[in-house]
Symmetry: C2
Subunit: 248 residues, 2 copies
Amino acid sequence: MGTTQLESVPEPKYWHLKTVLSDALDSEFAVGEVLPNERELAARFGVARATLRQALEQLELEGRLQRRRGVGTTVAPPRVGVAVGDYAHGWADTSGEDSWRTVDSVEAVPPAAVARLLETAPDTPVHRVRRTRMSHGRPLAAELLYVPAESVPGLAAIETPSGPARARAVLRELRRLELEGRERSVELGSARADDAKELDRLPGAPVLVVTTRYVTEGRTAAVAVATYRADTCRLTFGDGAGEELLAG
Amino acid sequence: MGTTQLESVPEPKYWHLKTVLSDALDSEFAVGEVLPNERELAARFGVARATLRQALEQLELEGRLQRRRGVGTTVAPPRVGVAVGDYAHGWADTSGEDSWRTVDSVEAVPPAAVARLLETAPDTPVHRVRRTRMSHGRPLAAELLYVPAESVPGLAAIETPSGPARARAVLRELRRLELEGRERSVELGSARADDAKELDRLPGAPVLVVTTRYVTEGRTAAVAVATYRADTCRLTFGDGAGEELLAG
DNA sequence: CAGTGGTCTAGACCACTTC
DNA sequence: AAGTGGTCTAGACCACTGC
């Protein structure tokens, strides 16, 4: 009766390590503070560096740590609440601390999955506008906005065919459409090389992929695929009633 | 002039491996098919098993593969589109292929973050209803619903204090409230041990954490924290206009 | 340049599922 | 008992940052 089933299911070392580190972060470290390097931490806990890294990886995934090659591991600030889909009525570049930066626009054939949403034939090129979402000077998200030519009929063919000016022209035309609704999905992905670069992360970094389908007159006017840094972002979706407590 | 800068930025082996495997999955494997085991794959590609595993991990994160200890690695079906927040008006257990299963309810002190949202004092116990969301017989999500006593005043104190019957009683009372709105956030997390068990995954598995705050009469009526399997789920958010193409 | 995190190896053993 | 994926080790070298 006295046998209390101690450690009959021993948890993995890296899991226990993660708990210990997590508690230490709460009590002994301030946001921004740098941790001892991996080799020292591993030695201090008496584990191999790979095991220690497994624990750090989890904590980074949860947004508790930030690791940068050549620099070190620092305590991350709490995740930012990022409102998706509340940037006023469409595609305006807002200003201030949280804003979209329009990069450029090119003609391109969208990936098959996007073409399906756009209801265009698989090889039809469309306008592809690249934007970056910044907050307090740091990149939050990289977005590719796919716009079929039919959605922006007013676009003069003579204008410059690519680059930032073209991108703004596409957005300007898009803003004239009346939206009937939006449809969104969120899933986990890993950053492609180009997105990773914009997000200041390594390729393969975990991202939240937000796919938005904009509907007008029963058609799909445009499709946006935005990849948000999963380590730093908490996506918030309001439905208009009341202040956004969650966005805190 | 002829020097075309080949491989001046060599990509990591596991990254290249991932690409190769991903292509192979598209062209040579069917959904549900089992791959050769890790030791053999590693040998076949001439890399260490750890390196191969790094590639497999990424593919699993992207929902391309499913790995089960003692069984093997299989090709995963495309992610399910899961509608969050469309289960008809509140907390009804829907039936059919996609449904919530109410597990139980206990009195418990919510985590600090939840207490803050509920606007209750940190140590106030509340009703905690546990539910599981199933689709086609497989677990999609595990949810903890926190309901302050004030939100369900009609709850008779004499009823059984915990268990499934109590859980249903709480939900029944909750359904009488008129909701003014909902506020949602989505972020990446890793499964706690208890959630992992319900989701049929190992602890630490990547999950999408959906936090919902239900508002009524300016107050927070309840807070739900649902953890969805990130490997199998794509969360969809409609806003009511038109069919859900993304839910595919 | 020194110091950091990122990649990679070649092994070992463990936990779990299946037969 | 055999076979799978999961954990862990002790090393090595690479890529990047900052002084």
